[in-house]
């Protein structure tokens, strides 16, 4: 590993670095929100508490696919224009699992020979300043998904070393940030020391897509569907769930004017697969439950070469029915092996 990209940042200098960022950019960072934390735009000079919670309640995907984002604007005389976001931003304090989630979204939004230009613009214009975790949350299982560390996907990566942060620059943009703040960052030679974290949950991913495909009609899924209330919280909080609708929104005062906006949609809801004539392809709840679990643990891997589950545990935390993807993955493997 090249060590000319390693630096050290005193903890007492962190806020100076944040202030440098907020002066120039829109900065999103985890901010205490009730018992949890959520990404918010920082005000200039706003203090950042880096370890208030393990990870945010809601994922950072809203920075890149904001709810209600205006995609098109139209007016009289067939005028239609594409709106391109030009915010220069930084996301500070994003955790490894959520950076992996962005790499998954990249596969979808930038891959398969077609680029989603709005997402691309936000990705290009947003610095990723990631922070390694010092403890695992109740429902985290990133280690078993291979997403607990980062080799790519960040501009800067901070690791807590007690009195200072070890900082790794992962890109030219990251190096530039360091050089703009020469007084705060001193070169370091060694790699960061990372303690081994204790995880309460895990998924055994070995041959999991193959096993699940063979278990497509297993009763395990009906059993999940019996408990599931189709509230869509799991899809709402999953950092890799990206499905959306294009919604036309006419100006009430002047119907010739209006916009087309992106609204997130959720496969757990019946309307998601509804076509004309009120035909719903995934009418039985079991089919919707399977769509979620299979997208995360099978389809994503097959289509994009990456599991669309990064082990953040949010769907477990949010599910009012206590449905736990790690438990269900285990169950399906057990049933398969005992066949």
């Amino acid at each position: 590993m090249r060590n000319d990209r390693f630096y050290s940042l005193k903890k007492s200098d962190l806020q100076k670095f944040i202030d440098h960022l907020t002066k120039r950019l829109t900065v999103f960072a985890p901010v205490p929100d009730g018992r949890s934390c959520n990404y918010r735009k920082l005000a200039q000079g706003q203090r950042v508490i880096i370890d208030h919670c393990t990870n945010t309640e809601f994922p950072p995907k809203s920075v890149f696919l904001p709810e209600g984002e205006v995609l098109l604007e139209y007016g009289k005389g067939d005028r239609v224009s594409e709106r391109t976001p030009d915010d220069r931003a930084a996301i500070f304090g994003i955790r490894p699992c959520d950076v992996h989630a962005l790499l998954v979204l990249d596969k979808v939004m930038l891959g398969h020979d077609r680029v989603e230009p709005h997402y691309k613009k936000r990705r290009d214009n947003t610095l990723i300043i990631a922070v390694n975790c010092t403890r695992a949350g109740e429902n985290c299982f990133c280690e078993s998904m291979g997403t607990s560390g980062l080799e790519e996907g960040f501009d800067l990566l901070l690791t807590d070393q007690g009195n200072h942060f070890h900082v790794e620059a992962g890109s030219g943009k990251g190096e530039k940030l360091v050089s703009e703040n020469r007084k705060l960052f001193t070169p370091a030679r060694k790699e960061a020391k990372r303690p081994k974290l204790e995880y309460k949950k895990r998924i055994d991913t070995k041959n999991l897509p193959g096993i699940m495909m063979k278990m497509f009609n297993s009763g395990v899924w009906e059993d999940v569907a019996k408990r599931c209330g189709s509230c869509a919280s799991c899809t709402f909080t999953c950092p890799t769930c990206y499905c959306f609708n294009l919604v036309h929104d006419a100006d009430i005062g002047d119907l010739d004017k209006g916009k087309v906006v992106r609204e997130m949609d959720y496969c757990m809801l019946p309307r998601f697969s509804r076509v004309a004539g009120n035909f719903v392809f995934r009418e039985p709840r079991t089919e919707r439950v399977k769509q979620f679990f299979y997208h995360k643990l099978v389809y994503g891997k097959r289509r994009d070469g990456k599991f669309h589950c990064v082990g953040c545990g949010r769907c477990i935390t949010e599910c009012m029915a206590h449905i736990d993807i790690t438990e269900e993955a285990k169950k399906v493997r057990d049933v398969y092996e005992k066949r």
Binding site: D78, N245, H248, C267
Partner: protein
């Protein structure tokens, strides 16, 4: 279409309207900008997104020949919000078009074969485009059968076009209506019942179909009984679509996206799909 384009449509003008039936209209469209007309291309079975600003978008298949460069035609069944607004369009009105998207019928690979086309209801438009294309290149294809089934007499479309097609050499058309009525003295019943009337060499025939899910299922088993190989069966699927470009996640069947891997799939590929397809 450029690969990094967003959702901005090209604008086209309605230059002619044919009322096919009480529920179906065909619109002839020309792009307002010459460049758009030049850059726009499609192959039969692909689809495009048609939009009325303020109302919404709908995926539609172009039914005219891909070789026709002056205009394109779409046929719309009035079933909901967007299609209803389209139904109210008049000559001179404008409509947004973006595309083309997805994969159509692989007509280039089917040269030399006999072609059996089975259309159900509003599934006819993409197949009509395929027929126009094959008639434009008549010598490249063998015998062509067209079976077309609708529920009610009022659903019948392309009466004029079918008359024109029926004059082509080596082409048979059979139309059937499920619900008997006094206006109709042709075949009555399900379109798959017509298969018994066909004398087909299945080995050298490709089966192309588009229609409602239940029909596709019956048609596929009919094709197979005729001896058509699974590689030569091409089915066009319908799913909820928002983006058309593989980004919005609405149209998947398992790990396949109907908007970009389809909407036309060979039955060999359909067999591998784990999710319920019909």
């Amino acid at each position: 279409m450029r690969k990094d384009d967003g959702y901005k449509p090209m604008m086209a003008r309605v230059t002619a309207i044919v009322k096919e039936s009480p529920l179906i209209k065909t619109f002839r469209l020309s792009f307002l900008k010459k460049d758009d007309g030049k850059s726009f291309s499609f192959s039969p079975g692909q689809f495009s997104m048609f939009s009325l600003m303020g109302t919404g978008e709908a995926p539609l298949s172009i039914s005219s020949s891909p070789l026709e460069d002056k205009y394109l035609e779409v046929s719309v069944r009035n079933v909901g919000n967007v299609t209803n607004a389209m139904f109210r369009m008049k000559k001179g009105d404008t409509i947004g078009v973006r595309g083309s998207y997805g994969r159509g019928y692989p007509l280039e690979n089917l040269k030399g074969k006999d072609i059996l086309i089975v259309a159900g209801g509003i599934g006819f438009p993409p197949l009509a485009s395929a027929i126009e294309y094959m008639l434009d290149n008549r010598d490249d294809y063998g015998k062509i059968w067209i079976l077309y089934g609708v529920k009610e007499f009022d659903d019948l479309m392309y009466k004029k076009r079918m008359k024109r097609w029926s004059l082509a050499k080596d082409l048979d058309i059979i139309v059937t209506i499920e619900t008997p009525c006094t206006e109709w003295d042709g075949c009555v019943g399900n379109v798959t019942e017509l298969f018994t009337k066909l004398k087909i060499n299945g080995r050298n025939t490709a089966g192309l179909s588009c229609g409602p899910p239940v029909m596709l299922k019956l048609v596929t088993s009919g094709f197979r009984k005729l001896g058509i190989s699974d590689d030569d069966i091409y089915l066009s699927f319908e799913r909820m679509m928002q983006c058309g470009t593989g980004k919005c996640g609405h149209c998947n069947i398992g790990d396949k996206y109907v908007c970009s891997d389809g909407p036309v799939f060979s039955y060999s590929d359909v067999k591998k799909m784990q999710e319920m397809v019909w």
